[in-house]
Amino acid sequence: MQCEGCQKNAATVHLTDVSNNTKKEIHLCESCAKLQGVTIKSYLHKSPTYPELLTQLVHSQSEAPADEKDVVCPRCGITYRKFRSTGKFGCPNDYSVFKKGLFNLLEKIHGKVEHKGKVPLRASDQIVKQKELRALRADLEKAVREEAYERAAQIRDRIYGLEGRQGEV
């Protein structure tokens, strides 16, 4: 199919415009589409796999200082450099050994660096308590923002309860 813009290139962008119940199809080549302000994104057919994506992300980072790249995990023996090239850790300990460069990366991937989900039963009560407190504080902020003061007071009391404090005014 020929591009309806330049009448030269093959049309690779197909637009369907429906207005007043009339459907209009427009077929353009990529450059004409760009000229008309169409953003092209090709999905699925070549979306990067996770390791690819990760490697790209890692490479897009500013170079870590040389000394950091050579940090070695005493437990599994992999270096930060090795992790960067494979996108895979060697053992759970790597998360603390490579902490410095890692947080930057995790923020790029996930947008956040703080776990908010399930906690294993075996993890100490302390963790559970801290998590709950954090969640409650967020709820409290939200309640205050929404001017739901009664709910806010209840949440506050629960926070105090967890912190082992008496209710204050």
């Binding site: 369907t16 895979k88 053992c91 759970p92 998360y95 660096v113 989900g117 399930k118």
Partner: protein, 371 residues
């Protein structure tokens, strides 16, 4: 050699009975977990892999996940049996093709599967029919809780569950829904959906997950981010977005019926006709035609075929399933003939199973339907 029994009915998720099952095929939740005292599999020796597998199996036995729980070690299984598990979405392709001690534990009518020594030490999956992420999450959460009573998972208070790949750290959870979106594909609206989804950090993949092509107009939508949100928050994000896509697909279907009824009916009936009459057919063409038939059944264009039959055909016509039914290894041209025969028989309302009974003739019922 150990062999996996063929269940003619397929897993629960194929039933086509779950909520919104005209569009949502299945809901899936998987959790990645690692044993704290072992290195990740990227660094584990063969001996350690064996130890991890043994530890996992002991834990599975102790945890009593379900009555019908069964562990299959993969190395003793034939390549066909392994592919069979892939086709049923019970293990990943990588797991089937992997090396060394590894396996899968199946339970609760295949709604629970736990891969041992895949990318992470454990990958627990819940898979259910239709749109029911929450029920699926509760199921996997329960399995995880039972297992963590007997296993010590690698966990950090700051970063959550620690995984081989930093893309899974935190909840270790991937929640996904498989959608059938033929009308959006037909009208080329599907890209718009993908664009919108990528803006809210949801990924779109093909039928068999990461790195696979979309086929049969099936798309899997899943979360990309695993850290910083709770499991339920992640599920809620997907739960909010799916109804919008379903509505979009349904609207386009209705518009098509209103404005281009002949075009859509023609597509559906031609597909149905081909499947009823073909003498040799490959997997890809089967998927495309079944997709049109599935839409036709949902739009009540075709009235005497049930959705579960179509859903089953998607799976049972795949290479390993065909070979298991035939109880022999078949090369590709042989499979295409077997597949065509099986589909003809099935659509003519004959019993499933031992495809050898196919005589190559469709029977009178087909003539009636083909009008």
């Amino acid at each position: 050699m150990e062999s996996i029994e063929l269940q003619s009915s397929g897993g629960e998720w194929l039933a086509g009975t779950g909520p919104e099952s005209d569009i949502v095929i299945s809901s899936r939740i998987r959790l990645a977990r690692n044993l704290a005292e072992f290195p990740f599999l990227s660094k584990a020796t063969q001996k350690e892999r064996g130890q991890i597998e043994r530890r996992a199996c002991e834990a599975l036995l102790k945890a009593k996940i379900a009555e019908d729980m069964r562990y299959h070690s993969l190395p003793p299984l034939s390549p066909i049996d392994r592919l069979f598990l892939v086709e049923r979405h019970l293990i990943s392709r990588e797991h089937a093709l992997g090396k060394g001690p590894r396996g899968v534990c199946l339970a609760a009518r295949e709604t629970t599967s736990i891969m041992v020594n895949e990318e992470d030490h454990l990958r627990m999956q819940g898979l259910r029919s239709g749109f029911q992420l929450r029920t699926t999450w509760e199921q996997v959460d329960d399995v995880d809780t039972k297992l963590e009573r007997v296993l010590d998972f690698a966990f950090s208070p700051q970063l959550g569950y620690l995984t081989v790949c930093p893309t899974n750290v935190g909840t270790g959870m991937r929640a996904s829904v498989m959608l059938h979106l033929p009308a959006l594909v037909m009208t080329r609206q599907i890209d718009k959906v993908f664009q919108a989804l990528s803006k809210i950090n949801l990924a779109v993949r093909g039928l068999y997950g990461e790195g696979t092509q979309a086929s049969g107009d099936f798309y899997q939508i899943s979360n990309q981010q695993t850290l910083g949100k709770s499991e339920l928050e992640i599920i809620e994000t997907i739960e909010r977005v799916i109804p919008k896509i379903m509505e979009y697909e349904r609207t386009v279907r209705e518009n098509l019926l209103e404005q281009r009824r002949e075009v859509i009916e023609d597509k559906v009936w031609r597909a149905f006709g081909m499947l009823q009459t073909a003498r040799t057919i490959n997997s890809e063409e089967t998927m495309d035609l079944l997709s049109a038939v599935r839409m036709g059944v949902n739009l009540r264009i075709i009235r005497d075929v049930e959705i579960p039959t179509v859903n089953e055909l998607f799976i049972l016509t795949q290479p390993a399933h065909l070979q298991k039914m035939e109880r022999s290894e078949l090369n590709s041209p042989e499979r295409d003939i077997t597949r065509a025969t099986y589909i003809r028989n099935r659509l003519a309302g004959r019993a499933a199973g031992n495809g050898s009974q196919g005589d190559g003739r469709g029977g009178g019922k087909e003539d009636r339907k083909a009008k």
